[in-house]
Amino acid sequence: MQDIVKEFPGVKALNGVQLSVRPGTVHTLMGENGAGKSTLVKCLIGMQPVTSGKIIYKGKEVAFKTTQEALNAGISMIHQELSPVLERSVSDNVFLGREPKKGIFLDYKKMHGDCLELFEKIGLKIDPSEKMKNLTVAKMQMVEIVKAISYDASIVIMDEPTSALTESEVEDLFKIIEELKSKGVAIIYISHKMEEIFRISDDISVFRDGEYVTTDRAENLTQDKVIEFMVGREITDMFPKKHCEIGEEVLKVENLCSGKAVQNVSFTLCKGEILGFAGLVGAGRTETMETIFGMRKKTGGKIYKDGKEIHIKSPEDAIRNRIGMLTEDRRGNGIVGILSIKMNTVLAHLKSYGFPINSRKMAEDTQAYVERLGTKTPSIETPIGNLSGGNQQKVLLARWLLTDPDILIVDEPTRGIDVGAKAEIHTILSELAGMGKSIIVVSSELPEVLGVADRIVVMREGVVTGCLGREEVSQELIMKYATLDKSKQKAVQ
């Protein structure tokens, strides 16, 4: 790809970007949120027309107008934002648009069989006839991955494939990547996770604000160097944990239950404390938080705040009790895509703007948080849907900071967020704790939990298997509890 320029109204997303990918290698694209990585690959597979520039594929200049053309030419892609058809079966999803036929009928048997075969090859246990919406997010992502590689493409683009995966599935993915490489397939890989990038990359290209910065062999680069290229400055501390006084108990959860997903979960949270929640995806952490926040029906247990029992039936109740929650599913229940950054920022705080609503104050508050969090946006009237994922996340964080909660629950707060912003978010969380707020951090990234939390609760299959203090934890210990057998957990508690 040469001199690619891509303009959106008001934004120049790409400005003269270069990229050349060799067969049989993994070429990683790096850059902060909004650097234009996703846009670049979307241009490549024909999802978006380029404003100018040339794409040369297998020696010939091409300009795919639809993804169909790109797929036929041998370029497939795992998309950053999940794109399953939720109401249909897994096999329908995998073979969407290329269903096998037998005579005039579709060959359902073959679809099922082929699907199973693909899954088995990588040790994935999913029933191809299950409805997509019944899978966990991680399983859905695995299905997306399987689908992308099943095209037998010569270029496979992976846009943040691991952001919804757990460690073990990431390993599976890396095995797949190795196999693809050995077959001579080129992989364009996009991720914000430094460790994995240096494990698998052959080449690394770095972008900043739509500008091409550099390309080099991975062995010639170091983490710090890449970060410097990306951010334009050095980041010294990923987890700037400030030490602060931990005060009296603020939240106490006793035997919380919600169906099968949450079973007798108990824990406490203190003033000024950051409590981490670790566990494999599907451990029930999100469900626990959703139950506390009133998004999910509580089937048992009690919640106390400041020593008094509180009854939360809806997020409205939770907010009234000064609890905030940054949810995991950014697109599903986080952003309101067509509304402005301003509206998205003030949404949980509308009550405080009086009657009639004080629009000027809304704008001021929003502007303040855009500046404080360094959100990259043309203006606060820009629809949030036009922002890159990381910047959307910052707006959502601003939404909850604005409500000034006593307890802030953040669920996968840095998913899909670049290193610079990640460090910023960690700093903010730490500062908040310093101001006497209590914070619950749910994350699948162990270094993150280890880095920011004072104590760590580990869950597995809906139950708490352990609670570890900052001093005693290690990755190994967490993994041990996270995979602990149900029969043994009693002993630990």
Binding site: F293, S314, E316, F355, S359
Partner: protein, 325 residues
């Protein structure tokens, strides 16, 4: 053309369409652009306009309301029936049930609110498509209106007809009511928490819930607003013609109201609606209806043109969104 001017044009396409139509009609018939005709035009569209503001709120939340025409008929029949002269042989309530005009109008609005609350509650709590809930409500309300009276409810007293047929310094009351409702709708949408939450619910209901908005309650309020507007429309309709025929009053008004709201840029995928847009939508339909009659276009041709203009203006208006995809 500069980008800015392009943007201005595409953002205001609907007004440009309106202006183009007005110019065309004025040239085609010299009687079009007169004060008297303008008054006629506005009077003719005011009722549908009021109902369009109602249904626009529903559309804004990804809903729809097909029951408004029938609600108008039901409320028209009940309120009209209650104020008919007590000695009229063809009274809707022969038992002699009678109310003063203000009470009857109030009752009509309350009935509208109750119907809206039922519709809203069903949609909010059972999650059935608004299309179906309001289609059912349409059947029920229309049948209800016919149960109240199987003949036009007529001989309505002057006091009842005040809003529907009187003028105030040369401005028809009905147009004043429309203006007041427009201002009210504008205020609600832009300056209240309720209005803001409508946009959020339409844009992403789940996100709105998580942000602490009570989506169910809000939806109920939306359909209350919508049905109250329909009830008001029914009262004005009966007042305007001095009679309310349960079988034809408000018939298919929902389609016109929805068309006006949509032509005015209210998006059926939720989250987009502006009061000025809806006003433009209503005026466009009004100009077509009035202008083509003045030009002496035959009725079938009028409908063909109306269909084309409705589609055409929404197509033009959509162009502002397309660039972003």
């Amino acid at each position: 053309m500069s980008l800015k001017r392009k943007k201005f044009l595409s953002d205001n396409m609907i007004w440009l369409v309106l202006i183009a139509l007005i110019i065309f009609m004025s040239v085609a018939n010299r009687n079009f652009a007169t004060v008297a005709n303008l008054r006629t035009l506005l009077t003719g569209e005011a009722i549908k306009g009021i109902m369009a503001f109602g249904v626009a709120f529903a559309i804004l939340t990804k809903g729809i309301d097909l029951s408004i025409g029938a609600v108008a008929a039901l409320v028209g029949a009940i309120t009209g029936g209650l104020v008919q002269p007590i000695d009229l042989a063809t009274r809707a309530f022969p038992g002699g049930a009678h109310l003063s005009v203000p009470l009857s109008i109030l009752l009509g609005l309350v009935i509208g609110a109750l119907i809206g609350a039922c519709i809203g509650a069903i949609i909010a709590y059972t999650h059935i498509p608004a299309f179906i809930a309001t289609l059912g409500a349409q059947l029920i309300c229309r049948a209800g209106a016919k149960m109240v009276s199987n003949r036009p409810v007529s001989n309505l007293p002057e006091s009842y007809r005040f809003l529907g047929s009187k003028q105030f310094f040369g401005i028809p009351m009905i147009v004043l009511v429309f203006i007041i409702i427009a201002i009210l709708a504008w205020f609600i949408l832009n300056h209240t928490r309720f209005g803001k939450s409508l946009y959020a619910i339409g844009g992403n209901a789940q996100a709105a819930t998580v942000a602490g908005i009570n989506v169910e309650k809000t939806l109920i309020k939306v359909y209350i607003w919508c049905s109250v507007m329909a009830a008001l429309g029914g009262i004005l309709l009966a007042g305007r013609s001095g009679s309310s025929d349960p079988s034809t009053s408000g018939l298919n008004y929902e389609l016109d109201a929805i068309a006006a709201a949509t032509v005015g840029g209210t998006s059926h995928t939720g989250g987009v609606c502006s009061v000025t847009g809806v006003i433009a939508g209503i005026l466009i339909l009004g100009v077509i209806n009035n202008g083509l009659v003045l030009m002496g276009v035959d009725d079938n041709m009028t409908n063909v043109l109306k269909g084309l203009i409705i589609i055409g203006s929404v197509v033009l208006d959509m162009r502002k969104n397309i660039q972003k995809v």
